[in-house]
């Protein structure tokens, strides 16, 4: 009897695990930052969440007419990396209560990486805060969910 109860309790672990995953996976999808210059696909890899650029309003550099690259990266070896496909959100972990934290956000405009956390205000709205050291020294951007045009 004791063994049977133990077996049942172990088998219930994946049930609760799946519920937790469903809640945290609401972050996945296609999102647009407030400036409308890009679209970012947030996906789950392992237990963490990552976001990559999948669309740019201006995909080409106007001075070279070539696809935009990460020319402001502090690492010179990465300055020819195409921005479309670039992963700018990294390592976010779900903390419960519609919050993902412990991640970073990269700004290709200046080549800087900031600590970041994400709050889901509703199913179609994210508040992504990038900050320096403490959260008070940062900026929040609102991202909206996108879907295929009807």
């Amino acid at each position: 009897m004791r063994n049977l109860l133990f077996l049942i309790s172990v088998l219930l672990v994946p049930v609760f695990g799946i519920s937790q995953d469903a809640e945290s996976d609401r972050l996945t999808g296609i999102w647009e930052p407030s400036n409308g210059k890009a679209r970012v696909k947030i996906e789950k890899i392992g237990a963490k969440y990552y976001g990559k650029i999948v669309w740019l309003k201006e995909p080409n550099d106007p001075t070279t007419n070539q696809p935009k690259v990460d020319k402001n990266n502090e690492d010179e070896s990465l300055r020819n990396t195409p921005l479309r496909g670039y992963r700018l959100l990294k390592d976010f972990v779900y903390k419960g209560k519609d919050e993902w934290s412990d991640g970073t956000i990269y700004d290709p405009e200046n080549g800087s990486t900031y600590k970041s956390n994400i709050k889901m205000k509703d199913a179609n709205t994210l508040e992504i805060r990038g900050y320096i050291g403490v959260e008070a020294l940062g900026r929040t951007d609102v991202w909206k969910r996108l879907e295929v045009k009807k």
């Binding site: 695990g17 990552y50 402001n72 320096i132 900026r139």
Partner: protein, 360 residues
């Protein structure tokens, strides 16, 4: 049975807790990105809003601390006639002037549809190496007490849509010949404000027009103002202007190394309260300076930037008013109310070095 239990535990662990290490590279295998062209907001009522930045704009400073220094200069004073005494015209001189300038400007609300920033600033000017100050009570108080400004400020950026925006700003400054151990009463605070309406035509240009109540020329005035932030398509040159207060051309060597050339008009109205001869007579010094300068700004460690200014300081205004019934009055550009004391400050070289924590 035990073996069966162990196998179940191992199977569940594999299903629930399998992990893949964080990716080591940012490069992604080829993907068909054209599929992401045909997307729109999931919320029908969602709007896009413009941001307060253009490409390559100098980073906003969250916290700064620096030291301003001016070289030697003369102070020429005209006659001062008061109720019980007259001071003759005279010349004084100083070997230098300078002091700490510090402040903060922190985002309080930072949303897509509104940004509110609040902060404070603290300026101190010590006048050193004084000569012949006995002829002039103003020179005397500058030498003994210097000048101090402590202020609060708030700025609101409100985008109306993806192109148009409103900016509003307000300041409250307490200026006078006081030091930190004898701050003057708050009733002598001076208030300034500005409001602009503008358009962001693209990611390289934003322009706005408005009106300002300002003390930058030393006394209160109401003037039209213009904001222009523009970056050339080559991303190397740009203009950052809030005229007539300041304007500068920007050369970007990289996102972390910037050179500026331009000017700034700074000033305020200072209550003279701690001079035994002038202190109770409702005098205010109307100080306005025009500074032409080069500025070099560079990231020295991540978000910590060094800023070095060097240039020439012209005297725009350094006259003294006496307030009737201790009430501020408006002269503007066309008023003819006489100054109680007219002064001229000699020009001199100046420098300002600061460390800054900049905003994301």
């Amino acid at each position: 049975m035990k073996l069966l239990l162990n196998l179940c535990i191992i199977f569940c662990a594999k299903v629930c807790f399998a992990q893949i290490d964080s990716l080591q590279t940012d490069t992604i295998k080829e993907e068909d990105f054209s599929m992401y062209e045909n997307f729109d907001f999931a919320d029908e009522g969602a709007k896009r809003f413009c941001t307060p930045k253009v490409f390559d704009l100098s980073p906003a400073k969250l916290i700064w601390f620096g030291y301003d220094h001016q070289g030697g200069f003369d102070l020429s004073s005209d006659t001062l006639i008061d109720s019980d005494r007259t001071w003759s015209p005279g010349n004084s001189s100083f070997k230098g002037a300078g002091g700490i300038r510090a402040g903060a400007n922190i985002p309080i609300v930072s949303r897509t549809n509104i940004v509110v920033q609040g902060g404070f600033n603290l300026w101190r000017i010590n006048y050193s190496g004084a000569k012949n100050i006995g002829v002039n009570p103003l020179a005397n108080t500058l030498s003994q007490n210097g000048l101090t400004t402590m202020g609060l400020m708030a700025t609101v950026f409100k985008p109306l849509n993806d192109r148009r925006f409103i900016i509003a700003q307000g300041n409250a400054d307490l200026n006078g010949d006081y030091q930190f151990n004898n701050i003057i009463p708050l009733q002598y605070a001076r208030y300034s404000a500005a409001a602009l309406y503008g358009i962001k035509t693209n990611d390289r240009k934003m322009i706005a027009f408005g009106i300002s109540r300002t003390y930058r020329v030393g006394e209160i005035n109401y003037i039209p103002i213009m904001l222009l932030n523009w970056t050339h398509i080559n991303r190397k040159w740009g203009v950052e202007m809030l005229a007539p207060a300041r304007a500068q051309i920007r050369r970007s060597f990289s996102p972390r190394k910037l050179l500026f050339f331009g000017y700034e008009l700074e000033g305020n109205s200072y209550r003279i309260l701690n001079n035994t001869e002038l202190g109770l007579r409702h005098y205010e010094l109307r100080r306005g300076e025009l500074r032409f300068r080069f500025i070099w700004e560079q990231s020295i460690y991540k978000f910590i930037w060094l800023s070095v200014q060097a240039g020439y300081r012209y005297d725009y205004a350094f006259d003294v008013d006496q307030f009737p019934n201790d009430k501020e009055f408006f002269r503007g550009f066309f008023g003819n109310q006489p100054y109680k004391m007219e002064n001229a400050l000699g020009g001199t070289w100046y420098s300002f070095v600061s460390l800054n924590l900049v905003s994301p």
